[in-house]
């Protein structure tokens, strides 16, 4: 007998003590919550503060009616936790839920209804929406069914990667949208397995972190709208409407119909890690899919409404999320729920970090007041399991709380830097009076993060929410008619410019300018201090045809069109080389903000600003030209980035370089491909050492280094 089988121990708690409804049971363990396989049975544990009784409802998998209803004996309640071990269950072939009985008194916050079967908030698997887009049988009384799951994935030696935050290049993408397009060529389009087949593409692009739009179980069919032009049913495509926080979305798994979405998602993560790519999840703790007073009762509403949701004194739902309800994040029980959830994703799925949707809500008190020292944010920052996990806040909410630069960080939290996005967009389109703020943003926003360092700033120009990069340079206005809301949804303040024509055009000049503007954007993003984030598809000019809010568009508007990899190879190559360039130059990734202090080794400051004349930046309101030179320590190169948002060319006087170094040309977005960019390290030396003519609306990047005799 081998070691693995020689350690079987007889356990006292493997024997039943009671019988309920014909099933042998014993008191379960209150912790951990959820359904956990124990010797001989399954232990079920659920919290409800105000329930007068609790019943475990068990279904044979897929059957409409329960096979058993087991009321928790009073002696199985510890505090407000009901816990029971049921023996002899085939855990693979059951679904379960709870009936909670108690007062129905909305004014006091209670909405108990024992007729409803409720999902377990801690369910590790949910069935009911197993295959994306399949119309559900809405006549079934229990839609989102909790399932038991073994936590026994074989990770080998995989762990979260722990890449330094400042080294990240984040790629924000959607599990389904990335490979659903027919051109993807993967075995299982639109799934975790499909994304796994595209790991070589991500690796070649050079990103080292994917940030996935929500993957917790949601119901894509809960959107009731249709496209007014086509009549086509619209989905809840993005999935910011969580049904179950511990369960991966079955419809994102090719094996979801077999209930193997957990293994499939873990396999994706394991292989991404093997390729050196971290995984960040976009998580939504500010609201749930249960909506307001008119919304469905799925789980929390029926288990403990007054605990889980922020309620007005009259018992209505506060709405700081813009979606009907607001999770009561700083209630001590809910804090633990959020913490348990994140621990689960780190410990059981090896997730490397989280981006928190509308994270400002996480800092609100039970009545919605912003807290000076929010206990949830502090807990997450110091939690032992999450200790090295990346935490990124979307530091605002729909209730008007805007905390960019002021988010309670506890030395740990980073932020989506909305001010970076707005400033660089504004500069790119040629607005006056932006040069000074541009300097602050590309230097890592020291005005916002002086005590937190540059890696507190996640720099981005585009994200799922808003225009794609191609649309940012092709549309002045949003075109959201397909969403069925009369073009009233989505942001109006886009800082976009169509370059002379609204939407697609045959004008070669306009198209050339658009390509140049996209390159300018990517060049600035990749040479800014802070963590760059790229929206999936921007590297190949993915368009949403001017729709800046494709939350409901499960079609070509949202999907990554893989034909564009060839069609827009020029932009893809540019992006790839820019990412590689960032990886090669430590001075661009410095964690501390530059101070202007002179580096003794080179006799140059760590950062210096220039205009048409070296050392003479023009900060005037009419200035649309700024150059920055960065200089690291030791043998690092000097990197000079000149950004010209002006519609005219300018002669640049270049700063002199010490110690036999000379200027080499890495990128000039004004040049035609393939001369627009070089391979890092292979830059040719400038012939005219002291000058460079920068074209209209162009970015030029030079490297000051010792000439390579072989070039």
């Amino acid at each position: 007998m081998t070691e693995a089988r020689s350690e079987q121990v007889l356990r006292v708690d493997a024997y039943p003590t009671h019988e309920v409804g014909g099933y042998r049971v014993r008191a379960g363990k209150p912790f951990p919550f959820g359904a956990n396989v124990v010797p001989g049975g399954v232990s079920f544990s659920v919290f409800s503060d105000q329930a007068t009784s609790m019943t475990l409802v068990i279904f044979k998998r897929g059957e409409p009616e329960p096979m058993a209803e087991l009321e928790f004996p009073e002696e199985f309640r510890t505090g407000s936790v009901f816990a029971m071990t049921v023996f002899g269950l085939d855990h693979e072939n059951i679904e379960y839920g709870y009936r909670a009985d108690g007062p129905y008194d909305p004014v006091s916050g209670h909405r108990f209804d024992a007729r409803q079967v409720l999902s377990d908030p801690y369910a590790r698997l949910i069935s009911g929406r197993d295959v994306w887009g399949v119309e559900p049988d809405r006549s079934r009384g229990y839609q989102y069914r909790s399932r038991v799951c073994l936590q026994d994935f074989d990770w080998g030696d995989d762990t979260p990667l722990g890449l330094p935050a400042e080294d990240l290049v984040v790629y924000e993408t959607h599990v389904r949208g990335f490979t659903r397009h027919p051109s993807s060529g993967v075995t299982a389009p639109g799934t975790f397995a499909g994304l796994r087949e595209k790991i070589p593409y991500l690796k070649e692009l050079g990103v080292n972190c994917v940030e996935l739009l929500p993957v917790f179980e949601f119901d894509e069919s809960d959107n009731m709208r249709s496209n007014p032009e086509t009549g086509e049913h619209l989905f809840d495509y993005w999935g910011y409407n969580t049904v179950s926080f511990f369960a991966p979305k079955a419809g994102y798994a090719a094996t979801g119909r077999y209930g193997m979405q957990g293994d499939e998602f873990r396999t994706l993560i394991k292989d991404l890690h093997a390729a050196g790519i971290e995984v960040i999840l976009d998580v939504v703790f500010n609201h749930t899919a249960e909506g307001n007073e008119q919304g469905p009762t799925i789980s929390f509403k029926g288990l403990d409404n007054a605990t889980y949701y922020m309620l007005t004194p009259e018992g209505y739902y506060f709405n700081f999320s813009g979606t009907g309800n607001t999770v009561n994040c700083n209630h001590p029980v809910v804090r633990n729920f959020v913490l348990d959830c994140l621990r689960h994703w780190v410990a059981d799925y090896h997730i490397d970090g989280f981006r928190f949707d509308l994270a400002a809500i996480l800092g609100r008190d039970l009545d919605g007041t912003p807290l000076p020292n929010p206990p949830l944010l502090e807990m997450l920052a110091y939690d032992p399991v999450l200790r090295h996990t990346k935490l990124i806040a979307e530091a605002w909410d729909a209730g008007g709380l805007y905390e960019v630069g002021n988010f309670p960080a506890y030395g740990r939290w980073a932020e989506w830097n909305g001010k970076y996005r707005d400033t660089v967009r504004s500069f790119l389109k040629g607005d006056p009076g932006v040069t000074g703020e541009l300097a602050t943003r590309i230097a890592g926003s020291p005005d916002l993060y002086s005590t937190r360092g540059t890696s507190a700033s996640v720099n981005f120009l585009t994200a799922h929410d808003g225009f794609t990069l191609a649309d940012l340079v092709s549309y002045n206005d949003k075109h959201n008619e397909a969403n069925g809301e009369g073009n009233n949804d989505g942001a109006n303040d886009n800082n976009s410019w169509n370059c002379g024509a609204e939407g697609p055009t045959d004008d070669p000049e306009i198209n050339r300018l658009r390509t140049r503007q996209m390159k300018n954007a990517i060049a600035i993003l990749m040479t800014s201090q802070g963590i760059p984030m790229l929206l999936s598809g921007d590297e190949v000019a993915r368009t949403q045809q001017g729709n800046n809010n494709t939350y409901c568009q499960d079609n070509e508007l949202s999907w990554f069109d893989w034909d564009q990899v060839d069609e827009n190879a020029e932009l893809l190559r540019f992006t790839r080389e820019m990412i590689a360039f960032r990886g090669r130059h430590r001075e661009l990734r410095s964690t501390s903000h530059p101070t202007g202090q002179v580096r003794e080794s080179l006799g140059l400051p760590d950062i210096s600003w220039h205009g048409e004349r070296a050392w003479q930046p023009d900060w005037s309101a009419d200035s649309r030209l700024l150059a920055v030179a960065r200089c690291g320590t030791g043998d690092d190169d000097v990197v000079y980035v000149a950004m010209n948002a002006h519609w005219e060319a300018h002669d640049l006087e270049l700063p002199a370089l010490p110690h036999g170094r000379s200027w080499h040309l890495f990128a000039d977005t004004g040049a035609e491909a393939p001369h627009d960019i070089r391979t890092p390290g292979g830059e040719p030396e400038l012939e005219n050492a002291g000058k460079y003519l920068i074209g209209p609306r162009s970015v030029v990047i030079l490297v000051g280094r010792t000439p390579d005799p072989e070039l």
């Binding site: 693979e92 094996t255 394991k270």
Partner: protein, 120 residues
Amino acid sequence: MSLNVKERRNKGGTVLVATGEINSETSGQLLQSLLPLVREGRPLRIDLTAVTYVSSAGLRTLLVVYREAQHAGVAVTLYGVSEEVRFVMSATGFLDFFETGEAAAAQSKAKPAVKTAVAR
């Protein structure tokens, strides 16, 4: 659906032929059949040609056999994996652990020595 298993011994090792579904109900029986064969130390082939479905619990059972075999230094090879089962095993990562029919045949030409069941 039930599962039938038959053993066949030949010069090179033991072949276990399974017929039916490998799920939570039948995997215990499969494990009972396989563990003694693993402990014999002879190369083991599991023929899944007549297996129509392998559930999550079934895949876990096969992986337990693999881990036992790894402890014992015994080569385990899966044969006749249907396209559907192979797809499920591939998407969930289980396939990475096993030698499967075609891969094993190719390797055996190049490296005839006894090998473990690890494919990666």
